[in-house]
Amino acid sequence: MSWIDIGHINDIPLRGARVVKTPVGCIALFRTAENEVFAASDRCPHKGGPLSEGIVHGQSVTCPLHNWVFDLNSGKAQGADEGQIATYPVQLDGDRILLDSTSLGQRSAA
């Protein structure tokens, strides 16, 4: 794994998200109320809604277009909807957010 510094945790609003452009497409970084950070595809598998614009609650996000709810741990759609978003390794080093470039790169190569 090769960790790269993406930014400060306060760059993401509490219970909000920001987008990172990567070779595999836009990835949303979510920050929960508990200051956990999750990385997942910004694109809802349903109609392509930007998940980074959704409401973050608990460890879930709700798509702003049609209210699909995804668990940020597994990337699985919750409730009656069936779908999956890709999730990516992310870690916090103090206040710094680190993404694993190899996982992004590998995906791009694949």
């Binding site: 930014g7 993401i12 909000g16 452009k21 508990e34 930007p50 614009e53 409401i55 702003p64 470039s101």
Partner: protein
């Protein structure tokens, strides 16, 4: 051979005896009915609605001429009984004798008149019969009325006359109103509600004298020297059993006519029933025991075994539109503890008094929905220690987290009393339902339940639902979402009453099951908090749907639409030029004119938003809030400026309204329009709030919509001036903000609270109207500003946090 039965007094108790008798044995008696009032039996409890103008006398008649004729009852109405000869068994009326085998006294009670100087003047009346009521109905604007007595009757009289416009003062000798039924806190709330209706209430006030002029009452004097001028003085200080005739007849009389358990007086052929009797030292004024007596008496006359038993009583009353309930003993004591729930905003007060783990008393004001359940606990002396924590929230909160109010009804035992007025228990009603009574009307017709005072209507409906299941449709309260067990309404109430001013407080105090809600409840809670605590609570963008967070409407491809505000639909070349420039600069693919009289720029990239806003801001354009659950636009026509039909400056008013209301958050979107004449070119009558100008002023109507539902507005009020129109619109907006359920358009809120309630509290109650306007202004001091200008400063937030595509390519 038929027995001769004579009944003296056609009141509610004796009327009920006649019903039972003629139903059970139509041919057993030859009945003669005397009544001093020139009419038959009517529902005296309902005189207050007659006074208030909600019902007519015809509607409260229990037995009409046809009823008596059908049952072969000889009526001698308007005729007093002069004398009774017990040896010859003859009743002597003013117009002749009637022999009897059995005689019933149903002489009722007389109002007690305080024998103070002047009590016999003209213009001093009691509140007892239709004549009194009619005299009170003559009081209107410009009349001054004093009511002595702060009990139920006095307050009903006061409220009825105040509703007719009279200037009413209630004089009460005790320290709080209805002291026999209410504790001081509930009495305080009641006083406040009366004062809001414009009634003056004087407590601890001792009347000394009624001053007269030309034989007519002029003023009431109090012992502190206060003089209260009056055109009419109503004494409503209590009733006394009417025993004069019984005494003359030689029957045993104490406070009332003595009767035994079979309602037999000291003469074996003479019975008494109703307010005139005394049974085991008690006299009676509420309708429930009177109906019990009537049933016993009818059975006795038919030779059946029956005995009247006094029951512990609860009082459930409706005074001037306020629900009250009290039962048991609610005095304070060292061994007693209180559980109190208050909701100041809704005017709800509930107090339970516990002693030795038992509920011994309860007082409720404003919300009496669960009163039957509490009354059952008091009556049965049940141990409540296990549910003490949640007791005050009522049966829905007991046992296994069942939030279904129906389960409480389902759990009632068959003998549980549903209708206190008519003594109808649950099994009577379920039997009626099984017998084919499938709606409220049928239940009333077959069992009489909810047919008197009507306060048990909700309970009867719930029973219908429990018994019939899906065949009976009744809306039930739903929790907001899976995160909690509370309805929107409950959450709103609790946020106000418990003064919850942060999301954390709401999650904690209201028992949220999730960490911080979900996309359903959190926007609702965010709105409730900012609407109720505009100063203390900080709006949380992360609890808003993307449109309100981004201040633009998200489109299906993830781009946004940008709509600058055009006040009242008015624009100018400079603004249009700025819009055109922005459209070109940011490659806006679609420029569209909206239905709200402005221009929509569709297809703006999210990252461009702060820049296009900044450009538009420079030309003086601000956010149009085309995305918000808040004020959208005020659509106008050209009014008197250009139109040959215009009656007022509709454009000017529209602009003013939009400048006052913009930026305010409401439960759902809020659209207004102002039309300059009834031709209504601005389509004001399908807006949430519409103003139609007419020659004599401004017609304000509310509750329109043209979306999933198409609704025409209903007229709220017509006001003469523009200033007043603005005030009413602000007040109605604030009332909707404070009371509406999140995502209910104004018309849905209106259906729930009722247009009449809105008229009463928002329009007619000037103090409340002003208070609403003040609260609206306070909130607007924070929210009446352009979010675009603020957000434009945060431009970096709209860009990606990082761009790894370049690095990866290297």
């Amino acid at each position: 051979m038929k027995q001769k039965l004579v009944v003296i007094g056609a009141g509610m108790a004796s009327g009920r005896v006649l019903e039972h008798l003629t139903d059970a044995a139509p041919d057993a008696f030859d009945i003669t009915l005397f009544n001093a009032e020139p009419r038959g039996n009517y529902n005296r409890i309902m005189l207050s609605p007659v006074l208030a103008g909600d019902q007519t006398y015809e509607e409260i008649v229990t037995h009409d001429d046809a009823w008596y004729a059908e049952r072969g009852i000889t009526c001698r109405f308007g005729e007093k009984v002069v004398k009774i000869d017990r040896e010859l068994k003859v009743v002597e009326g003013e117009n002749g004798h009637v022999p009897y085998d059995k005689l019933i006294f149903g002489t009722g009670s007389n109002p007690f008149m305080i024998p103070m100087p002047g009590h016999d003047l003209d213009g001093v009346i009691a509140y007892r019969d239709l004549e009194d009521t009619q005299q009170m109905m003559g009081m209107g604007a410009g009349n001054k009325v004093v009511v002595i007595g702060g009990g139920l009757l006095g307050l009903e009289a006061a409220a009825g006359m105040a509703a007719r416009g009279a200037d009413v003062t209630v004089v009460h000798i005790m320290g709080h109103l209805m002291e026999r039924q209410l504790d001081p806190a509930a009495g305080y709330l009641l006083k406040k509600s009366l004062e809001e209706k414009g009634i003056t209430v004087l407590l601890n006030a001792k009347s000394t004298k009624i001053a007269g002029k030309n034989g007519k009452a002029r003023a009431l004097l109090l012992d502190d020297g206060t003089e209260l001028p009056c055109d009419l003085l109503v004494m409503a200080v209590g009733i006394r059993p009417n025993t004069a005739l019984a005494q003359d007849t030689g029957l045993a009389v104490g406070r009332g006519i003595h009767v035994d358990d079979q309602m037999i007086t000291s003469d074996a052929d003479i019975y008494a029933v109703g307010e005139c009797v005394e049974h085991q030292g008690e006299v009676f004024g509420l309708v429930a025991p009177l109906y019990d007596q009537a049933k016993v008496l009818a059975q006795t006359l038919l030779g059946e075994e029956a005995a009247f038993k006094q029951r512990s009583l609860s009082t459930k009353l409706k005074v001037t539109g306020c629900d009250l309930f009290s039962a048991g003993d609610f005095a304070e004591g060292e061994t007693r503890e209180d559980i109190v729930f208050r909701d100041p905003a809704r005017g709800v007060y509930k107090r339970l008094v516990l002693e030795d783990d038992k509920l011994v008393g309860a007082v409720m004001y404003g919300d009496t929905g669960d009163s039957n359940w509490f009354f059952g606990l008091i009556r049965d002396g049940e141990d409540v220690s296990e549910m003490r924590e949640t007791l005050i929230f009522g049966p829905a909160y007991q046992g296994g987290g069942s939030a279904d109010p129906l389960s409480a009804v389902a759990a009632l035992p068959p003998e549980a009393e549903i209708c206190g007025c008519n003594g109808v228990c649950k099994s009577d009603i379920t039997a009626a339902i099984e017998g084919g009574a499938e709606d409220l009307g049928a239940i009333r017709a077959t069992t009489k339940a909810s047919a008197s005072c009507g306060t048990c209507t909700g309970l009867v409906e719930q029973l219908l639902q429990v018994t019939l299941g899906d065949d009976f449709q009744m809306p039930i309260a739903q929790p907001i979402c899976g995160c909690c067990d509370l309805t929107h309404e409950d959450v709103r109430r609790l946020i106000k009453s418990q003064e919850l001013k942060s999301q954390e407080a709401v999650w904690q105090e209201l028992g949220w099951k999730t960490l911080n809600g979900c996309h359903v409840c959190r926007p609702a809670v965010n709105f409730y908090l900012l609407a109720d605590w505009p100063v203390e609570y900080q709006d949380d963008p992360q609890s808003r749907f993307v449109n309100e967070r981004k201040h633009a409407n998200i489109q299906k491809d993830g781009t946004f639409s940008v709509v600058p505000r055009m006040w009242g639909g008015i624009t100018n070349p400079a603004e249009l030029r700025a819009i055109a420039d922005a459209a070109e600069k940011y490659d806006v693919p679609t420029v569209k004119v909206t239905g709200g009289q402005r221009i929509d720029l569709l297809g703006v990239k999210g990252s461009d938003l702060p820049y296009i806003w900044s450009d538009l801001n420079k030309a003086g354009l601000v956010s149009g809030h085309a995305y918000s659950k808040g004020l959208r636009t005020v659509k106008t026509c050209v009014g008197t400026d250009h139109c040959r039909f215009g009656t007022q400056d509709s454009t000017g008013l529209g602009v003013k309204l939009e400048k006052i209301l913009w930026g305010s958050w409401t439960p759902h979107k809020l659209k207004l329009a102002v039309s300059g004449c009834p031709r209504n070119c601005a389509e004001a009558t399908c807006k949430d709030i519409g103003v139609v100008c007419v020659d004599s002023g401004y017609q304000i109507s509310i509750g329109g919509a043209a979306g999933m539902d198409v609704k025409e507005t209903e007229l709220l009020v017509q006001v003469p001036t523009e200033d007043e129109a603005i005030e009413v619109v602000m007040a109605i907006t604030q009332a909707y903000r404070e009371g509406g359920k999140y995502l209910d358009r104004l018309y849905k809120w209106m259906v729930k609270v009722g247009l009449d309630w809105i008229k009463e509290t928002v329009v007619d109650d000037l103090d409340n109207r002003r208070a609403l306007v003040e609260r609206f202004e306070l909130s607007q001091s924070i929210y009446r500003k352009d979010p675009w200008a603020e957000q434009a400063k945060e431009a970096p937030r709209f860009a990606p946090l990082a761009d790894l595509t370049l690095e990866a390519a290297e």
